[in-house]
Symmetry: C2
Subunit: 199 residues, 2 copies
Amino acid sequence: MNKQDTLPKLKDFFDRNIPLPEPALIRLFEAMELVKLPSKHSITQPGEICTIEAYILKGIARTYFINEQGDEVTVHFAKEDWWIGDVASFTLQRPSLLHIETLEETYMLTISYERKEQLYAEYPIFERIFRLMIQRTHAFLMNRLVSVLSESADKRYQYFLDRYPDVPQRVPQHYIASYLGISPEFLSKIRSKKAKLRS
Amino acid sequence: MNKQDTLPKLKDFFDRNIPLPEPALIRLFEAMELVKLPSKHSITQPGEICTIEAYILKGIARTYFINEQGDEVTVHFAKEDWWIGDVASFTLQRPSLLHIETLEETYMLTISYERKEQLYAEYPIFERIFRLMIQRTHAFLMNRLVSVLSESADKRYQYFLDRYPDVPQRVPQHYIASYLGISPEFLSKIRSKKAKLRS
């Protein structure tokens, strides 16, 4: 993958979500680095400061933490056309609570804290752009919190399928169970119930 | 309470958290309204767009939702020197998932969506100020998500006491249980265990 060829994808993301004037888009793109990571590569870990935010071009990554019982809890999956990074750790430069790791070979455009701060300093329009982006991220997290504490596992699985239709084919089932907050056995019961309803 | 007398409190909040040049502080303050609400007053409800963000001068409010089982889940309590509002609903002007209500007579400085947009348009420094504020809010919510899915109820209660030392004296115990994600009976067991340890 050649960096220059990835610009249309980034442009398309912003066109659909937060329109960005062409010169600002170019400045952002120039501040970003094309990175290729193998599968199961750790992007950040608890106790470390998350050093990048990244736009995923190809591949998939997940954010998770390990709870007091020693179980993994998946916060979210990010795939093509999504951003990844621990926003809290990255923006406040505080140690992360989270693991972020790739689940496939992943190509992404990354930006470092220093480059992002430079963008803010040189081009104030990025204050607005990234304010709008974090508003979206925050709304997403609030939905996630309400969903995990509120809805039945069946409903959460359906919501998951709507949002991530291709993910069940791409990642191990126990990661999906850990996203839904249920055991892998319970997930397989839900799946067979759904399969029966369809047949 | 006289509006002009409340400026030092707002100034003090920003001095401690996100330093704001004096003229910007004054512009923000002028865009805000001093509001007094009785206890148990609804600020927003699911399905409505949250119309304000507010800095609490005196009193306490809580954000909650009702889950599929019909139980209340308290997302957080906001008291003196905290901000309240459904950031996702307010900033994106989308229907809220949440209830927000006062639990005591509450004085607050509120800002409407229109006034805030006007601040952004007239004084670009607010893009930065509110970007920094939402970063804090987002980090707080991520901590909350990790804590509720990760830590034991004892630990969550201790964390709650550290963060909200005076709240147990100010709000009904079942709201605190619904914040911790446990039954009121289980909360009272934790409390008596703690009391025994102290005696």
